[in-house]
Symmetry: C2
Subunit: 107 residues, 2 copies
DNA sequence: CAGTATCCCAGACGATACTG
DNA sequence: CAGTATCGTCTGGGATACTG
């Protein structure tokens, strides 16, 4: 590890990061937004079979609160909300790719 | 993402990987083994304040079962058991580093 | 020393219903 | 359309005690 020093602080830092991605649905939501894709709430609902409105809303709120997802509300009737990744959220893509590469290395 | 194609499969692959690291104590155990360090059960217990024997054993078993940690039992009395990372487990270090780098990028 | 075995609980998650 | 509210379930993890 480059800048962190003790096993404790490094482990804790990584844990904090992983918590951002924990949650039954976050990764699949993320992957439906990678590549600059923009999705409405109802569209994500249709893209992700089995998810409830409660969970979709909750996970999106958390991703938004963590600065990974950007939420845009259009003040129309009926309401229209769009979700996309922040720049930082987009930057997660190559990192997850590194994780996949690691998994492939397994002997 | 390089080789995976649909958001579903990619997300699922990453989830499978992250599950290997989930668990209240796995990361801190890992960081106490990075760099080729070898530790005995009781030593890890002392290194990790607050962990119970049950949890330490459980998390080690899972890491072992997942091929990340190597367990060596010396048939002595009293028993002696050593834990170290597999090569694959060691290879996780730079990946977690990438994760830390990403976290630092946050605007 | 290096573990198991039990019991318990908080919090994550799902199902369902309701709303501005 | 895009959510909240409520309730029930299930499981990861903690406390404690015991063992080859």
């Amino acid at each position: 590890m480059s800048k962190t020093h003790t096993p404790e602080t490094a482990a804790q830092d990584v844990e904090t990061i992983l918590k951002l991605l924990e949650g039954r649905w976050k990764l699949i939501i993320l992957f439906h937004l990678f590549g600059g894709k923009v999705q409405r709430f109802s569209h994500l609902e249709r893209l992700i079979p089995g998810i409830s409105q409660k969970m979709l809303a909750q996970q999106l709120r958390q991703l938004e609160g963590d600065g990974i997802v950007l939420r845009t509300l259009y003040p129309e009737v009926p309401p229209k909300v769009e979700y996309r990744l922040t720049d930082w959220g987009q930057a997660l893509c190559p990192v997850l790719d590194a994780l996949l590469q690691w998994a492939e290395q397994r002997g």
